[in-house]
Symmetry: C2
Subunit: 257 residues, 2 copies
DNA sequence: CGCATCCTTGAGGGCCATCAAAATGCGTGG
DNA sequence: CCACGCATTTTGATGGCCCTCAAGGATGCG
């Protein structure tokens, strides 16, 4: 196998999944190499380890290389999960422009992150506006996903909400080259799903039972099994356009320079 | 009154409220003048007029000068309001990096926007990284507000949700110099509030009645009257840090260059 | 003064929270 | 290999929040 045929994540071990399935194809080899050279360090996080705590002043950001992370917000001693991150996500690039985050960033299961000093991002912005704009783009993807979650929380009930989350997660994993047919493996617990859907773990359990009995999806110990994907997506009212994949709303033809 | 004492929105009629109460104080006079010169056009929108429709390819973005706008997402013929914008918000700057929006941008009441061609933003990024970073920052404010809404939708019930929205709106209007003591005037209807809180208009009506009977807030025909602001904020579990105001989480001391 | 929009109120039922308890699977140490 | 502790998952019963259907009242505009 020649080097040109290697998948991106083998050619670029730290950053190869960044924007994969979205606009990564717009990057030149030189730009990919430049990205790959940004991290000063790779860290391994244990399950539940907090990478960034709300309010901390930041001088670096981290790209998620392997595993999963969540963004959490605490209110009244109750934790909410407001976002789920997958490999290739520049998880706290928000912190570059914001300087402090309004939420915590927590590892879900073991995770590996590549740490990029903000100083190096300064250099990118000053010398390569196109790459800078793609970094900006990547943070706005999070915002788009947030908006979709708001819409789903406003419109759907628990079983549909979790179906939507399953469909989204599957789609995002596929985008970055981590999709398997019929199954999604995660470190998620039913309690985590409850925190994402804004219901109690007890009710999440019943909602998952409903999906199971309806033959839509089976979730067991972090693994999701789906026979009829279209049915899952229909039940969860999932339309992938908001993920700005190469196939959807954010098609590339003539849109970007 | 000398020119130096004029409020920002009189010195800079189009962009004077941009980042006001947040990081506007970091801008030099030259940079403010440069911002003020960006718009190529000012448009007036009628109530309900759609400025940007989901999926349209964009070559310009708009700053909200006067009035209110909402971001809406449609699913299954049902509309959700996922965001509320106030004067000074660069409402669809997201469209600069995303090229298309995943949602509609709609005027709530009569609104005025200043239209900025993306070509001019390109120039800013290429020549003034600091200003570029502040533009980036402003889009991430929206993401932070989205996250807070997600958390509130997950944790609170209707009366508290709407109290939170009232508290946030009041705080944001104050930041940009539009606060009045004890009252907030908007073109919002109870149906709009229902769309933001993910409940039916009927239940929103009852929730507002609950706030009224509890002496927390009176909402009548778009106007909000509050006697005890601390009580409103406590009831809605509102903590302003996520708005990155000069007083909160995003304090400026030594954080930015 | 008619009309459209917005607001208000009532009754019945479904989704989900809470309290309580038990079963299952997994890692650890005996 | 089994015993044990622990997190996770499962199940039942009761009550509250919110939806739906239905109807009526208020406000502002032409």
């Amino acid at each position: 196998m020649t080097k040109a045929e290697l998948p991106e994540w083998e050619r670029y071990p730290n950053t190869g999944r960044f924007l994969l399935g979205r606009r990564r194809s717009l990057l030149s080899t030189a730009e990919k190499q430049r990205l790959e050279a940004l991290p000063s360090d790779v860290r391994t996080l244990a399950d539940g380890e907090v990478l960034i705590r709300r309010g901390e002043v930041l001088d670096c950001s981290a790209m998620l290389v392997d595993g999963f992370m969540i963004r959490t917000i605490w209110h009244n001693n109750e934790r909410s999960i407001v976002s789920l991150q997958v490999p290739g996500d520049f998880v706290d690039l928000h912190g570059y422009a914001l300087k402090r985050l309004d939420h915590d960033l927590v590892a879900l299961g073991t995770a590996r992150v590549a740490v990029v000093p903000h100083r190096k991002i300064d250099e990118v912005l000053a010398t390569d506006p196109k790459l800078g704009r793609l970094l900006w783009f990547s943070t706005l993807l999070d915002a788009a996903i947030h908006r979709e979650w708001i819409c789903k929380l406003e419109q759907l009930q628990a079983a549909q909400r979790v179906a939507h989350i399953f469909a989204e997660l599957w789609h995002r994993l596929e985008m970055v080259g981590l999709g398997e047919p019929g199954v999604v493996r995660t470190p998620l617990t039913q309690a985590n799903l409850a925190e994402m859907c804004g219901v109690t773990p007890i009710h999440m359990n019943r909602s998952l039972g409903q999906l199971r009995r309806a033959g839509i999806a089976v979730f067991r110990r972090g693994s999701l099994y789906v026979e009829d994907r279209a049915r899952l997506e229909q039940f969860g009212d999932f339309v992938s356009a908001y993920l700005y994949g190469e196939d959807g709303l954010g098609t590339l033809e003539g849109v970007l320079d």
